[in-house]
Structure formats: C-alpha cells, structure tokens
C-alpha cells in the first residue's frame, strides 16, 4: 500500500514539473521558430528556410546588448549591497519601526515601473532646472533608477533566508575570539550568499528587460537592448528582432549553464 502511495508522490512531482517546463519553453520555441527565415518582416511560416535573419543582424544590437548587461551588472551590484544591508538590519537590528522601514525598502516593488520611469524623468528635469547635475539620457541616471529597483529584490530574498538563520553561530564565532567583521565575512556572509546570489540573479534578469523604467531615461544615440527592441517594433516586426531575442536568451542560458556548477556548490555548501 505505502510504496504505491510513495511512488504517487514522485510521479505527481515529475508530471507537474514536466508540465511547468513545457509551459516555460512554449513561447521560447515559438520565438525561435519565428526567427528562422530571410531577414525581413516576420511572418510564419517563412517563404524559405534561411538563417539570414541571424547572419544579417546589424552590429548595433551587440552594443545594445552590452549596454544592457553593463547597466544590469552595475545596478545589481548596487542593489546587492543595499538590499543585503537592509535585510540584515531588518532581521537582526531590532528596529522599532520595523514594519514601516520594511515597506519603505519594498516600495520600489510596489510602484509600477512605468510610473517610476516618468517619475525619474521628472525628478532629473527638476534637478537639472534647479542647477543640479543633468542625469537625463545618461547611464548614471539609468543606473541610479535601476539600483533603486534592484534593492528590494535582493532584500526580500535575503530576508526570507535570514528568517531561518541561527544567530547563535555569530555569537559562537565571537566567543571564540573573532572580530565582528571577521564573524560577518567568515560566518554570516557564506551562509546568506546563495540568497544574495539568487536575489542578484533576478534583479539582473529584470533589469535587462525593464522597458517602462528605461524608456524615458535613455538619450539620443544611447543604446540599450530592451528599449531598442521596444522601439524597433513600433513601426514593424522583423525576424531580426526575434533573432536578437533568441540569441540573447541562448547566451544567458549558456552563461547560466556554465555558471551552474559553481552555483550549486555554493548552494550545497549552505544546505
């Protein structure tokens, strides 16, 4: 009786996860299919088999992609530091107005990105008009906004992990003569590292695809992948757009797959 019941558990798990994976892959497969064919307007099926949509991708897309990766990395790095600090303070600091502070730190999540985009544009215009720096159309301006949005992503994940953190470990380390800084670097940080990484992961993924936040903040001649993709389809839809998206997705997949071994070892170490 029991073994069959047990097998049922694994079967259900396998089936549900299988369905979920098929669901996640479905639109990706269609985008990839749509990208195949001669460069030009994207209609399916293509008139002939060709990969010229890939071989004719203008080099500007490379700059857009690199710019998006650069912006994503810098804002994720900023968000990782700020988010981790916020999570540590909230979990361990015994703050009096904890609820208020936590929702303040979460607030970038709760305001729609497209509102934030217009809000930052108005902020930067106001700053420029008041004699401050002009951040409109600069990577600095974009990075400031993206960092603000990345912060709560890291904070929320780290905070969830810290709920199950055994703080006696820190006290034990200090009891054995470690300085507070040593304790943090040698004990606390390694344990929360997977959560920080996980938060960084999708803070980055969301930054490189945040059209509404960046749309109004990029300047003339300033490349940025998500905005360039969005603008390039305002007039028509070409296979090049599908091809660029497929490549970016594929590169991310490869990077993640190779980084994975390293990542699992970090996860395993903390488990």
């Amino acid at each position: 009786m029991k073994p069959r019941f047990e097998q049922g558990y694994w079967l259900v798990l396998e089936v549900v996860v299988g369905i979920a994976m098929a669901f996640l892959l479905l639109p990706l497969i269609f985008v990839a299919l749509n990208s195949i064919g001669p460069a030009g307007l994207a209609y399916f099926p293509p008139p002939e088999f060709s990969i010229s949509s890939y071989t004719t991708i203008p080099v500007k897309w490379l700059w857009s992609t690199l710019a998006a990766i650069g912006l994503g990395l810098s804002s994720t790095a900023g968000g990782a530091v700020l988010g981790t600090l916020a999570a540590l303070a909230l979990a361990r600091g015994g703050l009096r107005a904890r609820g208020l502070v936590e929702s303040l730190c979460r607030s970038p999540l709760q305001i729609p990105s497209l509102v934030l985009g217009v809000a930052f544009l108005q902020f930067y215009s106001w700053a420029a008009l008041s004699g401050g720096p002009d951040l409109r159309g600069s990577y600095m301006g974009l990075a400031i906004a993206h960092t603000a949005v990345a912060t709560p992503f890291v904070m929320v994940v780290v905070l969830a992990r810290l709920k199950k953190f055994d703080w006696y470990l820190e006290e034990a380390a200090q009891g054995l003569g470690a300085s507070p800084m040593q304790t943090f670097v040698m004990v606390t940080l390694p344990i929360i590292a997977p959560a920080v990484l996980s938060g960084c992961f999708f803070a980055f993924l969301l930054s490189i695809d945040n059209v509404p936040l960046s749309l109004f903040l990029v300047g003339a001649g300033q490349p940025l992948l998500p905005v360039d993709l969005f603008n390039s389809i305002q007039f028509d839809l070409t296979r090049t757009v599908y091809a660029v998206s497929t490549i970016v997705s594929a590169i991310t997949t490869v990077v993640v797959a190779t980084a994975f071994r390293r990542l699992t070892s970090v996860f395993a170490a903390s488990g």
Partner: protein, 283 residues
C-alpha cells in the same frame, strides 16, 4: 555583530532610496493634487478633484477589483507550479534538474515584449492551440483567446514563475535534511512530510515570493497591454493611457497613488498575518 551595529546598516539603503526614488516619486505623486491643462501641462493649484473623480466613478473600482483578482490568480498558479519545481530541485541534483533550472532562468531572459508576441502567435485563431483542438475535433470554430483575462494570466504566469522559483529556491534549499529524515523515521509518508514539514518550512519563501509576484503583477504593463488585444482592461493600462497617451500626469499620479496604497495595504496585512502564524520557536 551586535544588534545596534546591524540596526545602523539600515541607513545606507534608506538614505539611498529616499534621495533617489523617494524624491522622484514625491515629485510625481505631488501632481495628483494638481490638475491637468492637457498634454503635459499642469495647473499647480491644490485640489482633491482627481481623487473625487476616482471615488465617484465605479469604473475605476471595477478595474481595480479585476486587477486584484487577476493578480491573485497569477500568484496562486505561479505558486502551484513553482513549489514543485523548487522541491524537485531540492530532491534531485541530476543533469535533468540542472536543465530544469536553466530553463527557468532562460525563460525569464527573453524580452517580455517579444515573449508576448510569441504568445500572440500561439493563441491566434489559426494558431497551434486552436489547430490542435480542431484536429482533435474538440471544437468547430476557433476559440478567441487573445483579449481574454485567461490570455493575460497565462502571459503573466509565464513571466512570474521564474521570479517565484528564484525567490523560493534559497529557502527550500536551506531546509535541513535531518528534519525530513526525522519525519520519515517516525513513519510519515512523503505526502505527510510534504504537508507537515516541507510546506510549513518553505512558508517564509512562499510568502515573500507571493508578495513580490503580487506586487509586480499589479503593476505589470507590457504583457497585459499586448495580450489584452485592446479588449481587456487592467489598472496599469489606465495609468499608461494617462501617462503616455494624453500626458495627464495629475491623473496618472492619482491612479498610481491608489494602486500603490492598495498594494502596500495588501502586502502589509499579508506580512502581519504571516508573522502571526509564524512558528514562535523560530528563534
């Protein structure tokens, strides 16, 4: 490190957020008290007329209600798909599990706009889903999918499952294996272990992932705008019309303000509820 050292750390993120996002949002939301003189020009006389309009017209409440409902359904479906994925990744470290995690990340690496266009070509009247149903003689005439809330929910779930999994993953991964083994040693079946050990211990992750997903869903624009096919309406679309089509910043700010308050309220009460039900012996 001692508590008061940790407490001081909060100043870095608080100051950063207050001086960047805080000021930006203040400047924007201040507009909600002003009135629009059309296409980007603002009359800076303070009044509550925008809020009065919102309250007096039930249309806004209806759209808000629908947005909350859609977001709630997206959270539930995302949770039902993400928890098994997270548990699978916890149980197995096989090549297949590794591929699964890569799929999760890869799916979120594709541009939302392009993904939505992919969905449109899948959900077309003559697309593969309708084609399959026709081939199986399940339907005669194609089902119109684009423009329904079902299409929007599908697109949003696809967008948020990776977010959900990546938030949940560190928590499920950190559950101590000995607790699981102890439960089994006491004769619990896998299912009993799932409901009495794994799910309760995953709760912090489930709560924070649900809240993130809910908040992002309430403000999501790109996916709903494309899959609404000009027929369905969600709150962010209303905001976009005001902010980007008629450039009525006061009205856009008012709508954004209301949305933010609603999301904050729901987040707050959920966090409070979660804290109430949290196992007390955790520390």
């Amino acid at each position: 490190m001692s508590r008061h050292v940790y407490a001081r750390l909060i100043w870095a993120p608080i100051l950063y957020l207050a001086l960047s996002l805080g000021v930006a949002v203040f400047i924007f939301l201040r507009n909600s008290l002003y009135t629009s003189a059309g296409f980007g020009s603002i009359v800076a006389t303070v009044s509550a007329s925008n809020f009065q309009k919102l309250v007096s017209d039930s249309y806004y409440a209806e759209v808000l209600g629908e947005t909350i409902l859609v977001s709630f359904i997206v959270v539930v479906i995302s949770a039902c798909l993400s928890l098994p994925i997270a548990l699978y990744l916890r149980h197995f470290s096989t090549a297949r599990a590794r591929i699964y995690l890569v799929i999760v990340v890869a799916s979120s690496a594709m541009s939302l706009v392009v993904r939505a266009l992919g969905w449109i070509s899948i959900m077309n009247d003559n697309g593969p889903i309708n084609g399959l149903l026709k081939a199986l003689h399940l339907i005669e005439t194609p089902i119109a999918m684009i423009g329904t809330n079902g299409a929007i929910i599908t697109g949003l779930v696809h967008g948020f499952v990776p977010v959900f999994v990546l938030t949940l993953f560190p928590v499920t991964q950190a559950i101590d294996r000995s607790v699981e083994q102890a439960a089994e040693g006491l004769g619990a079946s896998r299912w009993q272990t799932l409901f009495t050990v794994l799910i309760p211990l995953s709760m912090p992750g489930l709560v924070s992932a649900s809240l993130i997903t809910f908040a992002m869903c309430m403000g999501a624009y790109t996916t709903p705008a494309l899959l609404a096919g000009g027929k369905a309406m969600l709150f962010p679309i209303l905001i976009q019309q005001q902010a980007m089509v008629v450039l009525n910043y006061p009205m856009a700010a008012t709508l954004a303000f209301v949305l933010t308050i609603i999301v904050l309220g729901i987040t707050w009460s959920s966090l409070a509820a979660a804290r109430y039900f949290e196992p007390k012996e955790a520390r």
